[in-house]
């Protein structure tokens, strides 16, 4: 793929993210009156989730193949496991702390361009995925269609990963790589804001 095409797709991904993300207060899914829409917007309308999902794609892009696609494959699988635990009422400790920490740690890994072995990266992403999934599983609105919620939730999360991978293509150039590392720093700051109760 040529450099200008990479920049074009990365730009689209960035604009999509900016348009789709609103404040975390919208995260409850209130006012969304169908299962699919509720599940779809749930991960997209909360900054704590958005930054972590995008970070997974970004870090995958930094690590290169095969991590580029293995991390976004592992995340939904483990996240759904966490979601299932939430749905059936199995408690997971410190869920909100885990979600906030995921932003901090994944952001720092990107900011410092850490090239972890694939299995280490998969374990880190997998552990955080449990927290994100559990939060969504316990927050399932009972009035909505559960099947539609499941489909929307997985698709919404997957699209955020793809947006992260799209942005990650910027790492093909040195300027882009620096920009992506800067985004990693921002992600860590957003995570820290949630961790210390500023957001």
């Amino acid at each position: 793929m040529r450099r200008h095409q990479v920049a074009f797709f990365a730009g689209i991904a960035a604009v999509m993210l900016a348009l789709l993300s609103t404040s975390a207060s919208a995260h409850t899914g209130e006012g969304i009156n169908s299962g699919f829409a509720s599940g779809f917007w749930h991960p997209i309308l909360g900054w704590d989730h958005v930054v972590a999902m995008v970070a997974v794609g970004l870090w995958g892009a930094f690590l290169g193949l095969p991590a580029l696609w293995i991390l976004p494959v592992v995340f939904p699988l483990v996240m759904a496991f966490g979601g299932a635990l939430g749905v059936i009422g199995v408690p997971v400790p410190a869920v909100e702390t885990g979600i906030a920490l995921s932003g901090v740690i994944l952001g720092l890994l990107i900011a410092f361009a850490v090239r972890a072995p694939l299995w280490v990266a998969a374990v880190i992403v997998g552990v955080f995925a449990v927290f994100h999934g559990h939060a969504h599983g316990t927050e399932l609105p009972e009035a909505f269609n559960a099947y539609g919620y499941a489909v929307g939730f997985v698709v919404g999360t997957g699209l955020l990963h793809l947006a992260g991978i799209g942005l990650g293509f910027l790492t093909k150039s040195s300027v882009g790589a620096a920009a992506v590392r800067g985004v990693g720093g921002l992600i860590a700051l957003v995570g820290a804001a949630f961790l210390f109760g500023f957001a």
Binding site: V73, L77, A80, G83, A84, L85, A146, A150, V154
Partner: protein, 202 residues
């Protein structure tokens, strides 16, 4: 002795109680019966999603994976019809777990082997028809309901396999194959959540 066992098995099969999940109600209209049978596959995520996963796995195994595995899949579907009389609602959970494993294999394995593809086709065919007809004895229902189930199961699997094969044939780049593996992981994730919902519903 063997004869008595056969008679007992046959009696159990023919006198099995109606399932709660799919209490077929269409009347004498053959088309309505066909649609009702097909609807059990098409409108229930517990049967639809595992078959979609199977279609994707077969295309990832081989460009003509569906054609090669079709005999095993059909054998499974047909064997599931008499088996349905002996299974309870638990068979739906087993089908979902088998579907999750199929989708995980499709997502995580780089290459697939013939034995794996055939065994999964046979198992999912067996479980899909047993889950669709759970509790119903052989030929207890109108024939066109069975026709509808077998038709829809084949259509869903073949469509998923056909679309995936066509996409990978048209775009030979590795990312297209990766895209279908990601689709497999999404299916596995959705089925895991659906499985959790079925656990809480019971």
């Amino acid at each position: 002795m063997r004869g008595r066992v056969c008679i007992l098995v046959l009696a159990a099969g023919l006198s099995a109680a109606r399932a709660e999940a799919h209490a077929f109600q269409s009347g004498a209209d053959y088309y309505a019966q066909f649609l009702e049978g097909a609807g059990v596959i098409l409108w229930y995520p517990e049967t639809l999603l595992p078959l979609l996963s199977l279609g994707i796995l077969l295309s990832l195994w081989h460009p003509e994976g569906m054609l090669r595995a079709w005999p095993a899949f059909l054998m499974g579907l047909l064997a599931g019809i008499p088996l349905a009389a002996f299974v309870g609602t638990w068979v739906t959970s087993v089908l979902l777990i088998a579907g999750i494993l199929t989708a995980i294999l499709a997502a995580l394995l780089q290459r697939h082997i013939r034995a794996e593809a055939l065994a999964i086709s046979l198992s999912l065919g067996l479980l899909a028809s047993a889950a669709s007809l759970q509790g119903h004895g052989v030929l207890e229902l109108p024939v066109f309901i069975y026709v509808g189930i077998v038709f829809a199961a084949n259509m869903v699997t073949a469509c998923a396999a056909g679309i995936a094969s066509l996409a990978m044939e048209r775009v030979e780049a590795n990312w297209m194959r990766i895209l279908w593996r990601i689709a497999g992981s999404w299916l596995a994730a959705i089925m895991t959540l659906v499985f959790a919902f079925t656990l809480t519903a019971t």
